[in-house]
């Protein structure tokens, strides 16, 4: 499948920034979750030790991923499950549709899963005549609205409750009395979803963690929809990125503390489901695990970039990001938005297809500070920027300007000449004593910012005049 080149972030952001509803919607909830996270984290005296442990475990996993994957496969098979391997999205979707078709079902219920969004599993299922029903409330909302997720944890963060009421009245609650009270909206969704849970023969889930040692899969959620999907249908198919592995069961000690506190700001999430293969007479009697690569081994090959695979999808980096807070998730044009998306997406699909994403950051470092597994996002952003410029045409105006400036700055003589030239040349751009209109690449600066003119005396001029003689 040919990889699609993403639209440029500055353009998509411009559209998002102009949407007043969007500007109000994401910032309020992200601020709330951000504060909750800070409080939940501050409670733990050993938070930094937990982060260090999380980072160390994930580093170990990436270093030995080949062995852990085989160990996981054997453990799942031993527990009565089936394991399938998918190189890319197309292979994963073929496996998925074939497995569903084999059950004879034309409808599946789904627990929220990022990787199935990444591979566009719902579209592939629909093409095979299978209806996939999202059961996480926010996922259901965006599915009904034919929209895309804008946040990892709260995919419908861009919608407010009156928009949701209108949507429900058009879809699952036609002809019903409904206000925009959250309680009523949730009740309408529950009525619809219960029927789906009770009639579905097949469920599809993702995985937060998979234990190589035991073959145990783990899903964390808040609404109980996951528990329904994971226990009621006869067949369960889990689609999982190959990086989701943890070596041993005891590693849950670290990750089940890190994830809920970072994600929802809770000490513990409401539902944590763990299952190992199949148990006769209890839960799904047929279990399939599809292990998806889809670009991950390319990420693994990069020494600096591979830490992006440590991500546990908590979304703390989105909630703290000054860019995400203003643009929302859609501007990133990717399943993974925000700072983690800016480093993961270009690596998964190739930097040449997502050239603007590594630049969609001020490098403020807030994401690194909150990351529960210490992914140094600014470091990876810089690494990817380096990859992008390395492949840029040498005649690209920015490249030329940067090389020229580097040469100018490399000797004090050239530097001072340029300084003098700027002091004189700036007159061309000055109006009423300020620079309010810059040309070319710098035009963005003056769209809403003035620039005071360069003083005619630089610091070095002052030093020569006042200090050099004094010290001589």
């Amino acid at each position: 499948m040919a990889t699609k080149t993403l639209p440029m972030f500055p353009q998509t952001a411009k559209i998002a920034l102009a949407d007043t509803q969007l500007r109000r919607n994401p910032s309020k909830p992200t601020t709330t979750i951000r504060t909750k996270r800070a409080n939940a984290v501050a409670e733990l005296p050993d938070w930094e030790a937990l982060r260090a442990a999380g980072s160390a475990i994930k580093t170990k996993v990436m270093r030995n991923l080949d062995e852990y994957l085989l160990q996981l496969e054997a453990a799942v098979q031993h527990a009565g499950g089936h394991v399938h391997w998918a190189r890319d999205a197309a292979e994963a979707n073929t496996l998925l549709t074939t497995l569903v078709q084999a059950t004879g079902a034309d409808k599946v219920v789904k627990v929220k899963s990022m990787v199935t969004d990444e591979i566009h599993a719902n579209d592939a299922l629909a093409q095979a005549g299978i209806q996939a029903i999202e059961t996480d409330l926010a996922e259901l909302i965006i599915q009904l609205a034919h929209e895309k997720s804008s946040h990892i944890l709260v995919p419908a963060i861009h919608k407010n409750r009156s928009e949701i009421r209108d949507l429900f009245l058009r879809t699952i609650a036609r002809g019903q009395q409904l206000t925009d009270e959250p309680k009523q909206l949730a009740a309408a969704a529950r009525t619809y979803l219960r029927e789906q849970f009770l009639t579905a023969q097949v469920a599809i889930s993702g995985a937060n963690f998979a234990i190589a040692e035991t073959g145990t899969i783990c899903v964390l959620e808040s609404e109980g929809n996951g528990r329904m999907c994971l226990t009621l249908p006869k067949t369960l198919i889990t689609v999982m990125g190959i990086e989701k592995i943890l070596p041993i069961f005891q590693d849950f000690e670290v990750f089940l503390q890190l994830l809920p506190r970072s994600s929802t700001g809770e000490r513990m999430n409401p539902y944590t489901s763990l299952w190992t293969g199949v148990t006769p007479g209890d839960g799904p009697q047929e279990f399939h695990l599809i292990l998806v690569d889809n670009g991950r081994t390319n990420v693994l090959a990069s020494e600096t970039g591979r830490q992006a695979l440590h991500c546990i999808r908590c979304s703390a980096c989105l909630n703290i990001c000054p860019v995400y807070e203003r643009t929302g998730g859609h501007a990133y044009s990717s399943v993974y938005p925000g700072p983690i998306g800016a480093i993961l997406t270009p690596q998964l699909i190739g930097v040449e297809h997502a050239k603007s994403l590594p630049y969609a950051s001020t490098l403020c470092g807030a994401c690194y500070e909150v990351c529960p597994v210490k992914i140094n996002i600014p470091e990876v952003l810089l690494h990817l920027r380096g990859e992008i410029t390395a492949h840029a045409s040498p005649l690209n105006p920015e490249t030329l300007a940067m090389h020229q400036l580097a040469q100018t700055f490399a000797t004090p003589q050239r530097y001072e000449r340029a300084q003098k030239l700027a002091q004189r040349g700036q007159r061309l751009f000055m109006h009423n004593g300020v620079i309010d209109h810059l040309p070319g690449m710098l035009a963005g600066w003056t769209t809403a910012r003035d620039l005071a003119p360069l003083p005619q005396q630089s610091f070095r001029d002052w030093w020569r005049e006042h200090k050099a003689k004094e010290q001589a």
Binding site: A448, Q457, S458
Partner: protein, 246 residues
């Protein structure tokens, strides 16, 4: 102590007063200040924009200029951040073992101004006098790269006559981000718009910070709006005394 001033190209060209203030301040505190005129630019803009190899000659030049200095002090958190965090990466790009070792040896001698005052000289009251309402914006690089903590605030709190007001959401980025401000001008301005709103809410006459790059951005926005709020570098406030106005 012989303090070698790394003024940074940005301050040298755009904010010479910051260098003058830093010189006065350090001398008042009994330091011998020298200025090595061969200094130019640390290469941060190149490295952070992705032109990492272009930063190599600049890092080499920095080492040539400052290699023999006892202590190097810069009135810029982000340029010190570049040296401390990223020069090892620049050096690693060359594979030159001597260069890598020289950079490692140099880094512990480079300080941002507030770090130098509070951590090295162990002073918080520098004898400054500044009878104005001021709010302080802690820049991302001072907070999250250098981890200067509350050092600048401790210095400001000790200033005589100052009316220091807390900036709401102070630790959030102002939206500058170097070339981000022009590459993603719209998003940069959206972030700035909130920062300006917080600044205006404090009723301060002056926004103070340890980085003039962020101040160029915040001040540029405030000026365009004719908001009547000035921007000053930390050194420019700390340099003022009851006897001397810089």
């Amino acid at each position: 102590m012989q303090v070698s001033l790394f003024i940074t190209c940005f301050n040298d060209t755009l904010f010479p007063n910051v260098g003058i203030a830093t010189t006065h301040l350090l001398e008042r505190l009994g330091q011998q200040v020298e200025f090595r005129e061969a200094q130019t630019c640390c290469g941060q803009m190149h490295f952070n924009t992705g032109y990492q190899r272009d930063a190599i000659p600049l890092a080499r030049h920095f080492l040539d200029v400052f290699g023999s200095a006892e202590i190097i002090v810069a009135p810029s958190a982000s340029c010190v951040g570049m040296i401390r965090e990223l020069y090892p990466k620049v050096a690693a790009l060359t594979g030159d073992k001597a260069f890598i070792a020289a950079i490692d040896e140099l880094i512990p001698r480079v300080y941002e101004l507030s770090e130098f005052l509070v951590k090295v000289l162990d002073v918080t009251d520098v004898g400054a006098y500044y009878p104005h309402r001021v709010t302080y914006h802690p820049t991302c690089h001072s907070l999250r790269v250098l981890h200067v903590g509350d050092a600048p605030l401790r210095l400001l709190r000790a200033v005589k006559g100052i009316d220091l007001v807390e900036l709401p959401h102070a630790d959030e980025c102002c939206g500058f981000g170097g070339t981000f401000a022009v590459k993603n001008a719209d998003t940069s301005l959206a972030i700035l718009s909130d920062k300006m709103h917080y600044v205006l809410d404090t009723g301060a006459e002056v926004v103070c910070s340890a980085d003039t790059s962020c101040l160029l951005h915040i001040g540029g926005g405030l000026h365009r709006q004719r908001a009547g709020v000035a921007t000053l570098h930390l050194a420019e406030i700390l340099a003022q005394t009851e006897q001397e106005v810089i």
